[in-house]
């Protein structure tokens, strides 16, 4: 199962990111586990200065904005290819 980290204190924007991840995963038939990273020092480990941030398998893919469902689909679909390497 692909792990996705939503980085942010838990405000409505963070919640929207998590909702978009859920929608994107459902659309492409992928199972994802959403981990909410809300502690400032934990967010800092990712190098994210502006939230909301999103990481796929620990790699940050965006920060400071709400990514679209289409963008998230692309990041999720790219993940299995990485695992095959």
């Amino acid at each position: 199962m692909t792990k996705v980290q939503v980085l942010g204190p838990g405000c409505p924007k963070c919640q929207q990111v998590a909702a978009n991840v859920t929608e994107a995963a459902k659309a492409i038939g992928m199972q994802v586990e959403i981990e909410k990273v809300s502690k400032p020092m934990e967010i800092a480990k990712y190098g994210v200065m502006f939230t909301p941030g999103l990481a796929v398998e620990g790699e940050v893919v965006c920060a400071g904005r709400i990514p679209s469902v289409e963008e998230i689909k692309g990041w999720l679909e790219a993940e299995p290819a990485k695992e095959q390497k």
Partner: protein, 140 residues
Amino acid sequence: MSDSQKCACEPSEVLFFPCSGGSNCGQIAHHAAVELHKAGRGKLFCLAGIGGHVKGLIESAKAAKVLVAIDGCPALCVKKTLDHAELPPRIHIVVSELGIEKKSGHLDFSDEELAVCRDRLAQELQAWVAGPAADSTSVS
């Protein structure tokens, strides 16, 4: 979200990337950025993280509207670091080209020298606010 936790959901429109290197000009660049940060004109950002390819910092920088590169000298390390990360600065100044002689290993500078750099940056920011240029602005 707890009441004590500050939301960082409003990315700064302006990010400062100063040289901070081992010369008077590097230090002037750094202190000018600190002053403008404290004045609320933008946020001091982590150039080292960009150079270190820290993905979270690179993605955070992409959320800003204006990246300000403040180089100390013609080596242009700041601009080159940002360009390498595909983060082209919209405003770029070089302290040693503002009439301030670079002295390697000398970290002291005068208030007047700092003011020259700080005021030039403030001018450039004001010009951007008045009408953002489509292309990068290089100042010498």
